[in-house]
Structures are given as structure tokens and as C-alpha cells.
Subunit: 206 residues, 4 copies
DNA sequence: CATGAATGAGGATTCATTCAT
DNA sequence: TATGAATGAATCCTCATTCAT
């Protein structure tokens, strides 16, 4: 996490660094992301960077944390399921919100995508394992709630279903857009509905 | 594809190079994989490498092709679905075979995983798009066959279901092992069954 | 100069090597020209190349010699000045022939251009000094003849005038074409006439 | 152009780099010039070099610009033609100054020569076209002035005559020295006079 | 606390030539 | 005589981090 010096910075400067880092890590996976470019675009001297962050990984962790916070705060109103929706309806809404978030914050989405798909185990895992667990836990809770409400069968493998949802939410902003065409937003939303329906009803006849 | 010079090499040497490359690309995604390390471990001079392969991408394409061939030849006996199994039974068998392949060839599995998940689109896509399409097509065909046989509902989104299976098959050797523990093989196999069951029946109650 | 082995080659093969070398040295100055590419395009093994030529410079000298011979034999009919033209008319015809030669043999012209302008002293000079001297001598003879005929003033610096002509003939195929536009052939020929006129009459008033 | 870091260097160090680069580019045309040798002779680590210059071309552009500035400032007093000399006298003085400059700064002259004669068009043109045009324009102006003063015939091909002068000025420091011997300075100067006389009066009798 | 110069290992690729078969 | 594998130095360039000022 950033050193105190970073938080003591005037907001404008702090923001420029944040933005520049966001750009760089959105365009490149961890290893390819270049501190050199970040400081150049932020207009700060190299020495300063290492006064704000202990190293590259430190900056990266910080960004991930920020993205996570932002996403949580974006989704929080939803998350309570205030209107008491059916489990699957609720998941649909949640996913749609996630898509909207990605559309409004493409860089954040891109970084998240890198993090979840990049296979540089050594560098990522340490950071990402927490987040992965958290993500899985969220879906597990939702499903457990569904079981309680009677929406979801009681005898299914919860971990597995949660994993399915987790995978889905990650691939949405990346792969799926490419595979199914950069469709209009509405089409895309209906794709989400199909996905959840598929999970609800399965594809087996009868 | 490798130059003739590579194929003219004594098998022992050719193998050492192949093994060294396999190691390197299993441990690192494309960009991080280092020619220097490959030649060092293979015990060949740098100049020689470039007499066997035109460049890094050339070597990489070669490896992917080899992996693909090996996997195909491994799965071919299954693929015909000779015993006329039900669609979902058939998928289970196919996945189990895939898992066995990954267990027997962990490096190959790892490289495939890198290829399908890495976010360095520019470098990979050229090579990988074909393979991705092929992969998807296989699952689509299986599902279409299932529809014909009456195993699978006729009104589902085939593309989506195929995509789900594709994702699943890729994550099996990687993620799932980590997440669900390096369990005994039998446990792992039962996980596969759960996954397919989930796809067949859905998780919705009733 | 090539080894005997080269001359013993079947003509077709010898020619393929010659053509390939011509291509390479037309596209690149000496240092950038690549033996690797030459043998690849010629379709001969690398070992063979060094059985025909002792090294790169050997091949290069050979090409220069061939070009020189070809040009001489092209210009020979002219050179005798059989119709007993005035010195300046004769030069004009000679230059025009030179241009025609360059148009008909663009690769040869290009190689000549490289040779005369490239500043890799160490590599070129050894070869080129002879040719340069020969070239200068030709023009000196023409001018001396002009003096004898009374076309050319007796008290001028012959070496210098010869040098001027030499420079001119070299720059024609290269620079001048670029500078004065890739004009129609006739325009270009009239440019030559202007050049010789300028040499004949000077630009001073009166 | 160099980065700020270069200009911030202590002068002694900056100079060592400058001198080393000058040496290298004087001895070799662009492509053959080696960054490795430059840094070795300058006694700086490789990483440092790339903190001062973005790349090889950057350094090269810088050198060319420096040479150009130095030459301009050297010739400026002449250029005004303050004593209202006849066009041809003026050219003689200008050329003599150019020769003096070349004798005093042989490396700079050599680099200029490389730049103007090397046939590696792709690399040079971007940088050199400006300079070439500027050079031609200067001579064109001088000749135009000569026409106005009545020194130069009004009906000649100005472009061509300017081109002649341009070629001459470039070959002076290079070729001519070689061809006409490293003669005493006075002899050399008289050669220049001959050249201009030749241009003024032509070599035709009468 | 800010600065920015120093560093050297590492990246991929090209090359002309030699030499054993 | 034909072959083609072996070689290692050379090319330009990027990088994250340290440290003296």
C-alpha cells in the first residue's frame, strides 16, 4: 500500500498519478506495464515514485484495491436485494449492473480482466487470491440465500455453481463481447438473461 | 513452423530443445518466456536457435500445434462416441479424458491454459483464434447432436452453452484444481460429473 | 574473384546465384547486404556459397566487374565516336546512352550508385578506386580529344572538368531523377543537354 | 533531440559523450555506427545513454543539428557578401571558407559527407531532406542574385547550376582531397578557383 | 521530502564464416 | 565437391530499482 507521502500529496497530483497508472495497467498486463511510462505520463520524477510506493507491486495492489472499492460501492445499492427479488432475477440485475459498471469504467474493467486471466502466477496470485475468494463467497451467499428462499435446489454443489457465476462475470466484459459481436446494449443484456436462465433450468430436455 | 534444420537434428538434441521450450512456455506466458533461458537449458548456442526457428513466435506456434495434435490423438478414440452414449454422459467421458490428459501432460495443459486466457491479445490472437473457433465448434456439434437425439432442449442458445463448455474445459486443469484442492482423482472426476449435471438440469428448484 | 567451382556450375544455377546477388546488392549497400538472404533466394546451401566465393567481398568484386563489363560493352559502339561528332555532342550522346542503360538495367545502376556514394571507405575503396580512376580517365581522354579537335579550350584544368563529368554521370541515375521529378524520358534527356551546355558555355554573362 | 537529462549533465561528461559520438559517426555511416562503441569510448553505461537520448536516431539528429549550427555560425560573416563582390568571386570565398571549416573540423565534415551521400535513403531522408533543400536554396539564391547583378546569364537552368554547386561543395572535403592530393592549402584553394571559373566560363572554345 | 542520474542485466534478432561429414 | 549445422559476437533497446544530493 502507498506510503504516507502519497496521501499527503495535493489531490491534483495524486490524481494524475492514479490516472496515469490506470492507463498503463489497463493497456498492459502486470509485467508489461512500465513504471517509466507511468511517471512520464504523470509528469513526476522517478525518485518521487519510489517515495510514494515501495515498488511496482505496491502500486498495483493499490490500484486493485481502489477498483474493488469502487465496484463494491457501485453495486452496493443492488446487493441488498431490497425488493426481495427471486434469486435468478436478482442475479440478472446484478450482472447487468456489472456490465453497466464496465461500460462506464472501461479501464477498471480491463485491469480486472488482466488480473483474473493473466497467468503470471507468481506475481498475481498473492494479490488475487483474496479477491478471488471474496468474489466466490459473494456468489455463494447469493445462492445460499436462494436455497433458503426455495428458488434453488437444496442438493446442488454450491461451490461449483458459485464458480460458474464467477467465471461468467469475468468473461462477460472480455470474451463474450468479442464472441457474440459488439452488439447493442440491449442485445447484450438479453445475453445475460440467457446465461442465467441456462443456469436456472439447464439444457437437458425435460 | 520450424525450419528443415530442426527436423534434421538428431532426435536427442531436437528433444532437448523441445523439452526446454515446453518448460519455459509452461512456466511463463508468451511475452515472459525467454529465448535465452530456453537455449541455456537446452544447451545450445543462441545462433543455433535461429537456425531452427525463424523467431520466438515460430517456436511458439510449433509448440501449440504439437500440443493440439497430441491432444487430438489422445481424445480421438472417445470422440466418435462409439457406444452411442447420451449427450451428457458423453460429455462427462470427454471431460474426464481431458483431465487425464492434463494430468499426464501437465506442461502441455499449462501452455494451453496460457494461450486461452492470456490477455496479450495482439500476440496470441493470430495463432489462437483458429484454435478457439475449433474448440467452440466441437462443443457446438456435440450439443447439436444432443438436440437431434432429444437429449437437449431444442430452444436453447447453443452458442452460449458451447461457450460454457469451452470455458469449463479450459479452467478444469487450471483453476479448478487450485480451488477445489488437488483432490484424489476420483473426487475430481465426480466434480466433472457435477458440472455436467448442473448444465443438464440447472439449479432452479422444480 | 570467384573460385573455379563457380564457373564449373551449370549455367542455370550460376545464373540464379548471380541474379539473387544482384537483387540483394541493389536493395542494400555493401554492409547491409546479407549473404543469408542471397543464398536463400538463390536456393543454394550456405556451404556451397563459400565454395564458389571466398567471402562476401569476393562476390561483391565479381558483381562490380560484371556490371562494368556489361556497361562497357553497351557503350562501346558509341565510344568510338564513329561519326566524328563535336566533343559536346558526343558527350550528350554518351550520357543519353548511359541513361538508357540505367533504365534498362535498374539493378546494375543502383549497385553502381551504392558503390560510388557509400562512404564505407574501408570496404569499398579498395575495389572502387580502380573503377574511379578508369572512369575519370575515359572522360579525360574525351576532353583531350576535344582539345585536339579545337572544341575545348586548351588552357582548362582537364582533371577538374573530367571530375565534373564523372560526378554528373553518377548523380544522373540517382539524385537528379529525384530532384527534378520522375520526368518523362524526353524531359530527362533535355536535362542532360542542359548539363553539357552548361559545361560548354558556362553561366557567366558575356 | 536529447532529453533534459543530457543537458543537465556536467559539461565534462556531456562533452565526452558528444566527442565519442562524433568519432563514431565520422568513422561510420549511420547504420554501421555503434551505440556500443559510443558508450564504451565515452565511458558510460548503456542504460545511461538511453536516459540522455531516446534512441540512435535521436542522437544522430542532435549531431547533425549541432554541425549545421556550427557551420552556419562559421559562414555567417561571409554570407552577407558585405563587400558586394561579383557573384563568382563571392562563391570562391564561400567555398574557401567551407574548406577551411572542413580542415578545422574534419569529423564534422565527414559526418556531413556521410549524410549527403549515403544511399541508405530510408534512414537518412527524414532528417536530411530539409538540409538538402536548404543547401540547394542557398545556392539558388546566390545565383539569382548574380542574375540580378548581371554577373550570370539570365537564361540558364538555375536549378541545375545550383545543383552543380551543391554537389561541388559536398565533394570538396571528401573526394577532391583524395583525388587531387592532400596538397598544400594554397594549391587546394586554387583548385576551388578553377572550379568556379569553369562554371563561369565553360570549357568550350570561343 | 524531492529529485533525477546511475546502473547493468535482460530482451529478441542477425550475421559472416568455419568445418566436419 | 556438396552440404548445412555450429557458432558467438554484435545489433538496438527497456527495465525496476537505488542512492547521493
Amino acid at each position: 500500500m502507498p506510503k504516507e507521502t502519497f496521501y499527503n500529496l495535493p489531490e491534483a497530483k495524486r490524481n494524475k498519478i492514479y490516472e496515469s497508472a490506470l492507463d498503463e495497467f489497463a493497456k498492459n498486463p502486470y509485467r508489461q506495464a512500465s513504471i517509466n511510462r507511468i511517471i512520464e505520463n504523470a509528469g513526476i520524477p522517478k525518485g518521487s515514485f519510489y517515495q510514494y510506493f515501495t515498488n511496482k507491486k505496491d502500486l498495483y495492489k493499490f490500484l486493485i484495491e481502489e477498483i474493488y472499492k469502487k465496484k463494491i460501492s457501485y453495486l452496493t445499492p443492488e446487493m441488498a436485494n431490497p425488493s426481495g427479488m427471486n434469486c435468478f432475477e436478482f442475479l440478472k440485475e446484478l450482472f447487468k449492473s456489472g456490465i453497466r459498471f464496465a461500460k462506464e469504467n472501461p479501464r477498471l474493467a480491463k485491469i480486472g480482466q488482466h488480473m483474473l486471466s493473466d497467468s503470471e502466477a507468481d506475481t498475481y496470485n498473492e494479490i488475487m487470491d483474496d479477491k478471488k475468494d471474496e468474489g466466490l463467497k459473494i456468489y455463494k451467499n447469493i445462492l445460499a440465500e436462494g436455497v433458503k428462499r426455495g428458488d434453488v435446489k437444496a442438493d446442488i454443489n454450491l461451490n461449483l455453481a458459485a464458480y460458474y457465476l464467477f467465471q461468467l462475470s469475468n468473461s462477460i466484459s472480455g470474451d463474450l463481447i468479442d464472441l457474440f459481436g459488439k452488439s447493442e446494449e440491449e442485445n447484450f443484456m438479453s445475453l445475460v438473461e440467457d446465461m442465467i436462465d441456462l443456469l436456472e433450468n439447464g439444457i437437458g430436455s425435460k
